[in-house]
């Protein structure tokens, strides 16, 4: 297995990125990071109210963890750019996940606005990770726009339906040379392993961890699945065959009995 996953100028050991939304408590974050080995966490930007038991999530994020700012809430490129700029004012981070949505039922990203925001922010020096509906043409435009990676959805956000969009993700993995991170929809370790076996470079999981009965253990289970799937991919996945192939050596000795 390759020792590191190089992305955005960093050498990572873990190919599991974790989203911090919907966690029952920020207090779980240090343990999730420690036990799962994740090195990248996503956060969102919102108005804060100190009178409403405000806790600063930054206080719970271990040092050396990369903080990726998610532009969720943005409805167009302009708003996403502003959130990215706010993010780097709050904390010195230039890792930005572009998430632009205008559709509240399926939370589908607006690929066109995402390309615009990516091009602008990449020129400004940000490390841009665009979240997209899986579409090869969009992915190509994002490469030309300077994206660090492309993050196609596996299925709709928070649905735990895994790689329902598999046939649209496969061509992206095959044709695009920058890293592919499958984001959204991964609900189980088997989904995570499957994504890695397909050749994804990493995955980003939020809901499956955050709303699980035990977020720390689920993060560990997903990290194990990511490792297993990646190892198998690097070794080479065997092809399926239509007919049986015996596992034991064929011998003729019974014929003589």
């Amino acid at each position: 297995m390759k020792k590191y996953f190089e992305i955005g100028g960093k050498k990572l050991k873990s190919r599991l990125f974790i989203g911090t939304g919907k966690l029952p408590s920020y207090k779980l974050i240090p343990e999730i990071v420690k036990k799962s080995g994740t090195e990248v966490l996503t956060v969102a930007v919102r108005k804060i109210d100190p009178q409403a038991k405000y806790e600063n999530i930054i206080d719970y994020i271990p040092k050396n963890t990369i903080v990726m700012v998610n532009t969720s809430g943005a409805r167009n490129a302009k708003e996403a750019i502003k959130i990215a700029e706010i993010g780097s004012e709050i904390m010195k981070t230039d890792w930005i996940k572009i998430e632009i949505e205008v559709d509240s039922k399926y939370l589908l990203p607006d690929n066109e606005e995402t390309i615009k925001a990516t091009a602008y922010l990449a020129k400004k020096g940000y490390k841009v990770f665009p979240y997209i509906s899986p579409d090869l043409i969009t992915a190509r435009k994002l490469v030309d726009s300077g994206a660090i990676a492309v993050m196609p959805l596996g299925s709709f956000i928070g649905t735990n339906k895994g790689l329902a969009a598999k046939f649209l993700i496969e061509p992206i993995i095959r044709e695009i040379e920058i890293p592919i991170i499958i984001d959204a929809g991964i609900g189980r370790p088997s989904h995570a392993a499957k994504a890695m076996e397909m050749g994804a470079d990493a995955i980003l999981v939020n809901t499956a961890i955050a709303i699980s009965n035990d977020p720390v253990k689920m993060a560990v289970a997903l990290a194990q699945a990511v490792k297993a799937g990646r190892t198998a991919y690097e070794i080479g996945i065997l092809k399926e065959s239509e007919f049986a192939n015996p596992s034991s050596p064929i011998s003729k000795f019974l014929k003589n009995i």
Partner: protein, 63 residues
């Protein structure tokens, strides 16, 4: 009157007075005045004007 995160309040004189009065932390936040980012090195200089729309944002859990 000004607004802080959509709530109407009486004008504090300075950003630091505002932060203190409403118990905002000094770290881990970004202040926007009338939709524009007010960088931290400009907090001291900025004089709050009547009608200013001030937004104070920070990081929260998010995917």
């Amino acid at each position: 009157m000004i607004t802080i995160n959509d709530k109407k309040v009486n004008n504090p004189k300075s950003i630091f007075e505002l932060l203190k009065k409403y118990s905002y932390p000094h770290q881990g936040i970004c202040i926007l005045v009338n939709g524009k980012i007010l960088k931290k090195d400009q907090w001291k200089k900025y004089r709050i004007k009547d009608g200013d729309k001030i937004e104070i944002v920070g990081f929260v859990g998010g995917g």
